[in-house]
């Protein structure tokens, strides 16, 4: 059925976001961006799923609030890293 082809898009987006998350990057910020990309793909997926249940989008809003909290937590950790190390390169991790 043609309507179920959209799920391949969600799985593809989710998989690509994960792939960038685990790849070797120079900056930490790329990792946080890939996390936000995964959140975006889940948002889209959630939206399409909730259309099938009479347009009750409240759960989507709760999901959005929590993922924004998580994104801002990641940014604050990035800020604390820049304050201590001076950059956000992965090469500066040497203590553990």
């Amino acid at each position: 059925m043609l309507i179920y082809d959209i799920w391949f898009l969600f799985i593809y987006m989710f998989f690509l976001g994960n792939l960038i998350f685990v790849s070797k990057n120079k900056h930490l910020f790329v990792v946080l961006l890939s996390l936000e990309f995964i959140v975006l793909s889940i948002f889209f997926f959630f939206f399409v799923l909730l259309i099938f249940i009479d347009y009750d989008m409240y759960m989507l809003m709760v999901f959005l609030v929590f993922s924004v909290c998580e994104g801002s937590l990641g940014l604050s950790i990035l800020v604390s890293m820049i304050r201590s190390y001076g950059n956000d390169y992965f090469q500066s991790f040497s203590m553990l």
Partner: protein, 340 residues
């Protein structure tokens, strides 16, 4: 531990600790998978301020690694929840979706094969934060695991946990990493006890957290982070005996408290003819006891140093130390008197 937080003018840490406790309760008692995800997110949000401390580089790196692994795991968990919801697989537990959900929960717990962050992060945290990480943070992923697990996948993961937990601790000199690998090994036992019965998991978990609390509080009071510090201090007899008893109890030797939950699990295994799994449980426990005894023998039993200076001042805590020794020795025997 509350005492420690109260005495250091850390009222914001008390706030986050409170939210941490509630996040686990939210996650366990929700009636939808989405509520479970919300609990896990709040758990992450409230644990990071507890461990990040802007005064040194080590805690920045620690909180970053913790955040990256845990956020990836919880976002994967949510995606798998949505796929499970869309494909309507609510009761069929032996498929690939349950494998993916269990994998993300295992990553949250620090179980093998997703354990690589765990010894690193444990190395960067103080003892009290380690205690929270090793005991409280494991409650909600394990209970969520018990709601939808794939039996074959989990048995394979248990075997990996046991082997990695026992072999990984052989070359460690840091006490925190030693307890981290011991924690990975005990995770194997705990995941198997989930598959038997949730009551048994609760029993194992309570005894394990009590043993870890006794060990961690002893190391915290002596301010010891590495194995060579065990030999340099001039400990009196009761502290040495307490350390010996706690290490052997954690390894699961018979007269001590740590043997009881392992005994019940082995009983179940043998009655139901899981002979290969019993063999792996036994052999990995032996390796763990080997490296505990290796620490204890050389520091306490044969040819130990008695330093003239570096005296430990522990007179205020001797009552608690003796009480914890007493509990570790006698609780298994005293528990048989309950039913008389």
């Amino acid at each position: 531990m509350f005492f420690f937080i109260l005495t250091n003018n850390n009222s914001n840490k008390m706030f986050f600790l409170f939210i941490l406790f509630f996040s686990t309760l939210i996650s366990i008692s929700s009636n939808s998978w989405f509520g479970c995800w919300i609990g896990l997110e709040i758990n992450l949000l409230s644990f990071i301020p507890l461990i990040s401390n802007s005064k040194n580089l080590l805690s920045v790196e620690t909180s970053l690694k913790y955040f990256l692994t845990q956020s990836l795991a919880s976002i994967n968990f949510l995606f798998m929840i949505l796929i499970k919801f869309s494909l309507l697989k609510n009761f069929d537990m032996n498929n690939i979706i349950s494998i993916m959900m269990n994998s993300s929960l295992l990553m949250k717990m620090g179980s093998a094969p997703f354990h690589f962050w765990f010894p690193n992060i444990v190395e960067g945290l103080s003892w009290m934060n380690n205690f929270m990480l090793m005991t409280w943070q494991k409650i909600s992923p394990m209970i969520l695991l018990s709601y939808y697990f794939n039996k074959n996948f989990l048995i394979f993961m248990i075997i990996m946990n046991l082997i990695i937990g026992s072999l990984g601790g052989l070359n460690q000199t840091s006490l925190r990493k030693l307890l981290a690998f011991s924690s990975i090994n005990n995770l194997g036992w705990m995941i198997f006890s989930i598959m038997i019965s949730e009551n048994l998991w609760l029993f194992y978990f309570l005894i394990y957290s009590m043993m870890i609390f006794m060990m961690i509080s002893l190391f915290f009071l002596m301010n010891m982070y590495f194995m060579n510090q065990l030999f340099i201090n001039n400990m009196n007899f009761f502290i040495k005996m307490n350390l010996l008893i706690n290490f052997l109890s954690l390894g699961g030797l018979p007269p001590f408290m740590g043997f009881m939950p392992k005994w019940i699990i082995i009983n179940f295994l043998l009655i139901n003819k899981f002979y290969f799994l019993t063999f792996i449980f036994m052999m990995t426990s032996l390796i763990i006891i080997y490296y505990y005894i290796r620490i204890i023998y050389s520091s306490f039993m044969f040819n130990y140093f008695k330093m003239k200076w570096m005296n430990l001042f522990m007179k205020n805590n001797m009552f608690l130390i003796n009480l914890s020794s007493f509990i570790s020795i006698s609780s298994m025997i005293l528990s048989t008197f309950i039913f008389m």
